[in-house]
């Protein structure tokens, strides 16, 4: 899983590298933004003007961009900056926001911001919001609600797979995606699947138990 989330970072030469490391977090994103603009303006709700399209290959993307994000089965419009991360868009720009995915390290080390993009777990702090347009996004809120928990969420509750709970949305999302891929994992495989997520309270053993218990029920 962590490997999948890292894919973007390795494939440096892809045109739509989901890693924002290619961009300075500053305003000027000239070179990298050009290809992006072409792709995303077309997908955004805002009707790009002819001149904007003509200039797209030479001009930096800046200012507000209106996007449509497909989140938890809903089409949500959101206004972002080119540099806004998917995590930022979900947490800050969407109204009402989706604050299940947590901002913890903001640099792709901890996994608390994990969301599913076309079913695959990604660190949403490493994905630009503009790169998420047109993708099917699922956050922890989309996996189940307090009144209607998913099997994985129920297993986390039953096995005490959480303490302070700040890492929990990331673990729940990671484990949910992994069990879809491998419905009957070993403990070693669960550990491997969770290696991109940090917990400070020390819930790991119970996260593993929860994942294994949930797998038996699926």
């Amino acid at each position: 899983m962590a490997d999948e989330r890292d894919e973007g970072r390795r494939k440096k030469n892809l045109p739509h590298d989901p890693s924002r490391r290619r961009f300075l977090k500053g305003v000027g994103v000239a070179g990298a933004g050009a290809a992006l603009a072409e792709h995303l303006l077309l997908k955004s709700e805002a009707e790009p003007t002819a001149s904007a399209l003509a200039d797209a290959s030479t001009r930096p993307v800046e200012g507000a961009l209106n996007l449509a994000l497909d989140v938890n089965g809903q089409r949500r419009s959101v206004s972002v900056e080119p540099r806004t991360t998917l995590l930022g868009a979900l947490r800050h720009n969407l109204d009402p926001p989706l604050t299940g995915p947590k901002l913890v390290c903001d640099m792709g080390t901890c996994g608390a911001c994990t969301v599913l993009m076309d079913g695959k777990p990604v660190y949403s702090c490493l994905v630009l919001a503009v790169d998420a347009a047109g993708k099917r996004l699922t956050t922890v809120e989309g996996l189940g609600s307090p009144e209607n928990l998913s099997g994985v969420q129920k297993a986390f509750v039953e096995h005490d797979g959480l303490m302070c709970g700040f890492c929990t949305p990331g673990f729940v999302t990671t484990v949910s995606a992994y069990l879809k891929k491998n419905p009957n994992p070993t403990l070693a495989e669960v550990r491997e699947a969770c290696k991109g997520n940090f917990c400070r309270c020390g819930t790991y053993p119970r996260v593993f138990e929860a994942a294994l218990a949930a797998s038996k029920k699926t």
């Binding site: 800050h92 009402p96 926001p97 986390f156 509750v157 303490m163 700040f166 400070r200």
Partner: protein, 771 residues
């Protein structure tokens, strides 16, 4: 009140400091009467495995943490940090930042009287420096920063992105001053003075205790002597939710502060002072919080800055530290440097110990339990000092001072045991008076299979070598008289327990609910709890593992009073039974052969229902816990890599309110120890005065691949019918156990944490000794 009858007496165990060491002694106290827990094995909800009542909202992303608060018109705050460890701020120019569209407020925050790092005095300094009119510019001129990362200004803007732009646009001119970030350098003659306070030297004596001459003389009787120095680096709490607040002040005479804090009631006074409001006009909300571990008391410099920004902008300000901020300016666990000379006799008695202990707390005093820690040495002498450096001040961190002391003392005990040729477990028992440790050591030894340990450290064939170690630890965990709890029973049968306390992930919500539900004979989900709000009954801060032992007695008292109040109203329906004879069990209320369902019974209540109040009862809590840990590790002698294989920890806790949560706490303690022993440590560049690893990419936390098999065992031989906190106790004994297991496995005694592969390899090439 009951002076006619002689007060009933009862025996309780309380902690007392004897010879500088906290031990448990039994004393007689008045029996105040009132509620009692009853035998630990007779509970219907408590001492069972209760899933967390807040788990459903946490696993589904619905739980609102401070970081998740969104308010109309809310601005995002960011801090400008000093890039220098010691410097005079000559000028702060925020003019460019102010011109950026969307920047709404800029404040300065430096002062030469900043001496205590980020937590308190820096906040005080920020306050003195408040710049209502002049903004950041007014902060310029002669102010001195004392650590790299110290805030010099802060901004608030419409979006986080714009706030970051504003931080970059602020120009700060510094005159760089000489700094010192290593204890050895700070102690040198002519070293740069760390704080401007003329009364505070770089090296401050904290304590001298024991008899130096007698101790020195006693070494002559010893059959073996070990002289050794142990070191532990500064560690980071690494709360996943960073420090921060959302300050909602829109002008006027009231404000609300959403805070990520361990002390709901530490917030209003701090914020009120900053906002110029009455304390009673500020409400603190702590609905859920993402970890504290001792680092989150008071509003902090970040909260003060948020208040200033909110006041200037007349808009709510969301100021949560970034991860790098969190490493640099949100406190830390002090490092340690402990020098020992210790001697023991052939029969396994620790006869003499001389210790020089340095607490390395940066601008803070640091903490370190006095040696010989929980062991008994016939003769000892210790000198304790704080050594200051230009680094953020240390704060409390889970069992302040104990893991450092545990690592050093338990390593030393091990070294003596091996030198004497005595089983390290037996050597410990000979020097531990309290038999609770003996019992726990024996149980842990059975559980891990102590007889399988390496008889010769480093022995055995092959490159992968396994070994085992053990250690013990102690903590207080008693409560105090601060919690005011109300239980309301409505006429429709709904029950609410309310108190302003906070749940750090320790399970406060769950235990609060469970105590009331058990008392009223209800299911846990038939009671609702309201916590984390300063408008509710007062509660203490969650520090020193005091929450459970402070809160539970008050909850129990309130629940008992509620039960009696309901009984009094229902009794006429039950043949006029006395209230105390009415039984509450399994959702029914019964007496004199008559039974009512809970809701039927509540229909007899007045229209407003009943509200009962509860106060702390000392007899419902106790203090002083024991723990023993055994660890098994595998060392790859070709790479120096250490893998923890299994850890077993036996921990007493009086009445375990929720076994599932207590076990999780013990697991968490073992895992944080694992981080301390094998992975974590602040790395400083002495020349630049900067931290080299202020992020999770370089500061290694234990991850899923490193977690050994963990066996958390609650010591039910502890029959105390009293609540004791366990959060801090849980992190202590596993530190020494892991370090000792490494030695047993490969024969290398690493005396400086973390035990990284380079140190193992160095030791292997030097016949077991490290530099």
């Amino acid at each position: 009140m009951q002076q006619q009858t002689p007060a009933k007496k009862k025996k309780v165990k309380v902690p007392r400091v004897v010879g500088g060491v906290e031990t448990m002694v039994e004393i007689e106290v008045d029996d105040e009467g009132g509620p009692e827990w009853g035998p630990n094995d007779k509970h219907t909800l408590l001492n069972h495995r209760l899933t967390r009542v807040d788990a459903p909202v946490k696993v589904s992303g619905a739980a609102l943490y401070t970081h998740d608060r969104r308010l109309p018109g809310m601005l995002y705050g960011r801090v400008v940090r000093s890039p220098h460890a010691h410097a005079r701020v000559l000028r702060v120019d925020a003019s460019a930042a102010r011109r950026i569209p969307g920047v709404r407020a800029v404040v300065g925050a430096t002062d030469e009287e900043v001496v205590e790092g980020s937590n308190k005095a820096a906040g005080e300094a920020a306050k003195k420096n408040r710049t209502e009119a002049g903004g950041a510019e007014a902060a310029a001129g002669g102010k001195v920063v004392l650590f790299a990362g110290q805030p010099v200004a802060a901004v608030a803007a419409d979006t986080p992105e714009v706030a970051e732009d504003a931080v970059r646009a602020i120009r700060v001119e510094y005159e760089v001053l000489p700094h010192v970030v290593r204890a050895e350098d700070s102690m040198k003659e002519g070293a740069p003075k760390v704080t401007p306070d003329p009364n505070e030297q770089n090296v401050e004596e904290r304590e001298k205790r024991g008899d130096a001459a007698k101790t020195e003389a006693a070494f002559a009787q010893c059959d073996v002597i070990v002289e050794a120095e142990y070191r532990t680096p500064i560690l980071h709490h690494s709360c996943l939710e960073t420090h921060g607040n959302v300050v909602e002040y829109r002008g006027g005479d009231a404000a609300t502060v959403y805070a990520s804090t361990q002390g709901t009631f530490t917030i209003p006074s701090d914020a009120a002072q900053e906002l110029g409001l009455k304390e009673s006009a500020v409400t603190a909300i702590v609905e859920h919080m993402g970890g504290g571990f001792g680092s989150k008391f008071g509003i902090g410099i970040e909260g003060m800055l948020a208040c200033q920004l909110s006041k200037q902008a007349k808009a709510p300000v969301h100021l949560m530290l970034t991860r790098k901020d969190e490493f640099l300016l949100a406190g830390n666990r002090s490092g340690s440097w402990q020098k020992f000379k210790a001697g023991a006799t052939r029969d396994g008695r620790l006869v003499a110990l001389r210790a020089t202990q340095y607490r390395l707390g940066g601008l803070g005093r640091g903490s370190q339990a006095g040696q010989p820690y929980i062991y008994t040495a016939a003769n000892f002498y210790r000198e304790v000092f704080s050594v200051h450096t230009h680094e953020d001040a240390s704060r409390a961190m889970r069992a302040p001072g104990h893991p450092q002391a545990n690592f050093a003392m338990e390593s030393l005990m091990d070294e003596l045991a091996y030198k004497l040729g005595i089983d390290p477990l037996e050597f410990r028992k000979k020097n531990l008076k309290d038999t609770a440790y003996h019992r726990q050591l024996d149980r842990g030894a059975r559980e891990i299979g102590w007889e399988r340990r390496n008889r010769t450290p480093g022995g055995g064939a092959g490159a992968l070598k396994r070994g085992m170690g053990c250690a013990v630890g102690t903590w207080g965990g008693g409560g105090n008289n601060q919690c005011k709890v109300d239980v309301t029973v409505a006429r429709d049968g709904s029950v609410t327990v309310a108190v302003g306390s906070q749940d750090l992930g320790t399970g406060t919500r769950t235990l609060t609910r469970a105590i009331v539900a058990e008392e009223l004979g209800l299911g846990i989900n038939e009671v609702a709890e309201r916590i984390g709000d300063s408008r509710l009954g007062n509660a203490n801060s969650s520090g020193g593992s005091t929450t459970s032992a402070s809160l539970s007695p008050s909850v129990k008292d309130a629940a008992t009073n509620a039960r009696l109040a309901v009984a009094a109203k229902v009794a006429p329906l039950l043949g006029g039974a006395k209230p105390e004879e009415v039984k509450f069990a399994a959702g029914q209320v019964s007496a004199g052969g008559k039974t009512l369902a809970w809701k039927q019974a509540c229909a007899a209540l007045p229209s407003a229902g009943i509200t009962a109040h509860g106060e702390w009862k000392s007899n419902l809590q106790a203090s002083g816990v024991h723990g023993a840990c055994f660890a098994e590790v595998e060392v790859d002698t070709e790479t120096g890599h250490v893998r923890a294989v299994k850890m077993v920890q036996v921990q007493d806790v009086g009445l375990p309110l929720n076994r599932l949560a207590v076990e999780s706490q013990i697991n968490g303690g073992m895992i944080q120890s694992l981080g301390m022993v094998l992975y974590e440590g602040r790395v400083m560049d002495a020349q630049l005065g900067l931290q080299l690893n202020p992020g999770f990419g370089d500061y290694k936390l234990p991850g899923s691949l490193e977690i050994p098999e963990l066996v958390p065992l609650i010591d039910d031989e502890d029959k105390r019918e009293a609540v004791i906190g366990v959060g801090e106790a849980a992190i202590i004994p596993s530190v020494g156990a892991l370090a000792n297991a490494v030695f047993n496995a490969c024969g290398v005694r690493v005396r400086e944490l973390p035990i990284t592969p380079d140190k193992i390899l160095m030791g292997l090439t030097k016949g077991g000794q490290t530099a």
